[in-house]
């Protein structure tokens, strides 16, 4: 790994904003502060997006609102010869655990309960942390942000399982599986939390530190 020649010392890396530069977040090209669009890729240039946090919170709330019905309504409707069974996300996982499939129950619980809740917490925490002083180091907050961005997509796994099951298990009278109303809310919740994380401008994490350092 070669490290870049930095413009400051390694302890004191300068941000582009402090140097009067605005950089394209899509293609990393630098331009003087105040340039509107990147002349390499045409992406909109903004040194810091003033609306970033507002969009983060807007998507965050919609995602959270969708997450509630996603857990209340049934995810799957299973019809077998004699019975109809409707199971919610948590109910389905508990049922799997009763059958002895602990591994799969754990995957489902982690992918559709633990990860979404952790994501709501992490995005909210990051959005709050850039507006007030915090003791948590920037590296750690950057790490949280990267995890949120990477892991958010994996919550879609439950939707895909529902899709596969409802397409596959259509055995006329014997057994059939159909998606329940929770699936659409869950998909929306995942999509909106992904949008919320994307709206977060991670450069703000590092701004706070610069402010704090110059204050001391």
């Amino acid at each position: 790994m070669v490290s870049m020649a930095s413009s400051g010392t390694s302890q004191n890396i300068l941000s582009a904003r402090a140097l009067g530069i605005v950089a394209c977040q899509r293609c990393t090209k630098a331009a003087p502060l105040g340039t509107r669009t990147c002349d390499r890729c045409g992406h909109k240039l903004q040194s810091r997006d003033p609306m970033s946090l507002q969009r983060v919170w807007a998507y965050w709330f919609v995602g959270l609102l969708c997450y509630i019905p996603a857990n209340v309504y049934p995810m799957l409707k299973t019809q077998t010869l004699f019975s109809t069974d409707e199971s919610t996300i948590i109910g389905g996982a508990v049922e799997l655990a009763h059958h002895g499939a602990f591994g799969i129950a754990a995957i489902i619980l982690i992918a559709s309960v633990v990860i979404p809740l952790a994501k709501f917490w992490a995005v909210a925490y990051l959005a709050v942390s850039v507006t007030q002083p915090t003791r948590v180091s920037n590296q750690r907050r950057q790490f949280i942000y990267e995890i949120v961005e990477y892991i958010g997509r994996w919550s879609m796994i439950d939707i895909f399982v529902v899709a596969i099951l409802s397409a596959l298990v259509q055995l006329k009278t014997l057994a059939s599986i159909n998606p329940g109303p929770a699936s659409i809310f869950f998909a929306l919740s995942v999509i909106f939390t992904m949008l919320s994380a994307q709206a977060f401008d991670s450069r703000m994490i590092w701004d706070v530190q610069t402010k704090r350092d110059s204050a001391t």
Partner: protein
Amino acid sequence: MKDFAAPDIDVVLDDVIVCPQCDAVYRMKKPGHGERAACQRCHKVLIAPRRNAGLHIIAIALAVLFLIVGAAVFPFLTIDAAGTKNAVSILDAALAFSGGPMVFLSLATAGLIIFVPLLRVVLTLYVLVPLVLDRPAARHAIGAFRLSEALRPWSMAEIFAIGCAVALVKISDLANVGFGPAFWMFGILVVLVIAQDSFMCKWSVWHRLEHPKTS
């Protein structure tokens, strides 16, 4: 803050690279093949050129193109319970949510597992083939590459593959479930998509698009 402003940096904007994640400014020093330049404070990889990366990516992209089409059409799971059989392709699975508001889910699933990955492959080929052949960049290549990068988080083929495994275990006590040819295609596809992403050095592509004849 003002005393930091070094005047020479404002002048040579082309020699400067800025970390898109944390806004740190570095003076450009292009790493050699196989080396990586990473941001010192947030450790994001900024430049990672590889020898013949373009050719490798094109080869992988072509393979992915055929695999996606094949995987979408052939059956990928078969089910057999007490004489009643059913075989589904990925398209069937994506279109499982039919009727009423569920149509939205159908469209979203089909998009995330077939059309977005497919579109990304086509865009990648469109951008990279002229560059590798040392021809002038294709028309709108810059917009195409930008779109391809924007779609990256929405391409969910590998997540679908894990979903298959979960679904299999979920119904294995209900019926006999078998793999169709498309399942194996999808397995290979997941590996290829990950390899393709690791070969791709975005900075190099942008640089070549901007300076077609040099380098």
